[in-house]
Amino acid sequence: MAKQTLYDKLWQQHVVHCAGDGTALIYIDRHLVHEVTSPQAFEGLHLAGRRPWRAASVLAVPDHNVPTTTDSAGIDDPVSRLQVTTLEQNCNHFGITEFGMGDPRQGIVHVIGPEQGVTLPGMTIVCGDSHTSTHGAFGALAFGIGTSEVEHVLATQCLRQRKSKNMRVLLQGELRPLVGAKDVALALIGEIGTAGGTGYALEFAGPAVEAMSMEARMTLCNMAIEGGARAGMIAVDQTTIDYLRGRPFAPASERWELAVANWRELRSDPDAVFDREVALDVSSIAPQVTWGTSPEMVTDIDGAVPDPARQADAGKRESMELALKYMGLEAGTPIKDIALDLVFIGSCTNSRIEDLRAAAEVVKGRKVATSIKQALVVPGSGLVKRQAEAEGLHQVFIDAGFEWRNPGCSMCLAMNADRLQPGERCASTSNRNFEGRQGQGGRTHLVSPAVAAAAAIAGRFDDARVA
């Protein structure tokens, strides 16, 4: 049999039927649902008189609209509130499990799936959210879909898909201190561009990946979509299995043993052929900071804002000029001279316990600069929040002048009340620096939790090591 990649194996295990035109009907094991991309899908089911094919495969949670202030009795914005109550009503009607707003397990959908063991190796996992690629860290085939496909999966447990090409990102070497998965992801996107992975399923492999925790692997896979790849994935190893053992929805006893034996096969064959390979020596990666309005517009923290005049490609030059205008930056400005107004630590990219520990490590015993208007820490889930509080991390943040918030997507996309005002500049651990992403006219610099924390202390970008 031909040597297979991890993606080939996952694909093959889920083919229900191959159509003649190169597409296949594939079976979906797990469907995660949030309030923003599901109401029209549920409405479609209602209108057609259909029921979910397998309601037990679905887990729902509100995350995009939820307030993060601790004293909130509910959602002030009536439009947001309607969306959240609509999810609740739909879940009740169709018999779908939902972690509602009062549930301690509530949080960002891509944080709670793995946390609960709802995400398991070997699964196909979809969600009406592009950052579903996160779950690929567990040796799963996980990708974002649109609302019509949400309805399709609810109704049929399947999706019609064309198989992607295979791409491997080989990460060699050892990370420098205070450089993490976020920096690797940004450096990679800087290298391949935001469309570099379009049409590919991306596998992260190599010693640097093997050395990473599950939290770091999730950060890496989360950002695959920012490189254009719908799915990012990593082979199962002991780290994966140790993370999942004992999780509430993970299998137990004999089923666990059976599952683990099966999961250990979820890796690319040694001689498997990839359509494209990219190798990166991670020991050469410095902390990364984006300077523009696309994640590929990124440089080292020791670098400077690039000069569009030195870009030979006319299209790219124009994009750079537009980006610098929007960002209010001059070519040649050292990154470390960029002063900030806000700092946001959170999002499905960087709101897990390890991210909060990394930020707290930098913050400990220091104060947020007086020039910073607001510094937010938004844990990824109620359970991450509880864990951080048990470790005393919340006190480190509060003592320094950070606001310690409740879980949700928050300022990553500003659908709730947490947002930038026009012209405000934010160091953010989220995943997109698009125009208006964090609030109309807001200026986003994507960074790791350590760099965001150091920026809060210094009031500008500063190397976490010297903060």
Partner: protein, 216 residues
């Protein structure tokens, strides 16, 4: 879903690469629980000079005269001519819904982001990928000639330019069939219920832990 066969329409050129779905439809409008009504807020932050919120009378908001969508010559456009990686970022189907609600049925670009590309087909919209050179030529022609129209012929898989030149394009047979006939994907898949059941029972034997009681 509405069928798509042929379309002759005015072309709107959006000369900007990596247009993301946040730009196509900003987040505040994603709070809607409907599929329609997003047209007036398509490209909201580029199109208007003020900050938009749901519930506003968008017809009374100040327009940005520099944004191409607001130029008189492009009013009534049904075809959007775009640059590489159009529709990147968020998976929000509100992006194609907004384009469709505005009146766009066909998009032409050198490349599209995967999820956006897929979402278009679910809404009776045709995204056409042409090579960079062909797209460059179209931009030049559209900008040079007010009222510039293209004819898009999906059954024949070709685009006819105003000067009569014909450009062929590729599309998956299954997608084309669904679009040309306006088929409901869910109904089509449900025709394969037996196969899905068969797969499911095989999967239950091979990987019983995936079916262990209540999952989520």
């Amino acid at each position: 879903m509405d069928a798509f066969t042929t379309l002759r329409g005015l072309v709107l050129p959006l000369d900007r690469a990596n247009v993301d779905t946040d730009a196509i439809i900003p987040k505040q409008y994603l709070k809607s629980i409907k599929r329609t009504g997003f047209g007036p807020t398509l490209f909201d932050e580029w199109r208007y000079l003020d900050h938009g919120e749901p519930g506003m009378d968008h017809g009374k908001r100040p327009l940005n005269p520099d944004f191409v969508l607001n130029q008189e010559r492009y009013q009534g456009a049904q075809i959007l001519l775009a640059r590489a990686n159009f529709g990147c970022g968020s998976s929000r189907e509100h992006a194609p819904w907004a384009l469709l609600d505005y009146g766009i049925r066909c998009l032409i670009a050198p490349s599209f982001a995967d999820i956006f590309y897929n979402n278009c087909f679910k809404n009776g919209m045709l995204p056409v990928v042409l090579d960079e050179g062909a797209v460059d030529d179209l931009f030049a022609q559209v900008e040079a000639q007010p009222g510039y129209q293209l004819k898009v012929d999906l059954p024949a898989q070709r685009i006819v330019r105003a000067d009569g030149a014909v450009i062929g394009f590729d599309i998956e047979a299954g997608r084309k069939h669904s679009l040309v006939n306006g088929l409901d994907d869910i109904a089509l898949t449900l025709e394969q219920t037996e196969l899905i059941r068969e797969y499911e029972s095989k999967r239950k034997t091979e990987a019983p832990w995936l079916f262990g009681g209540e999952a989520g």
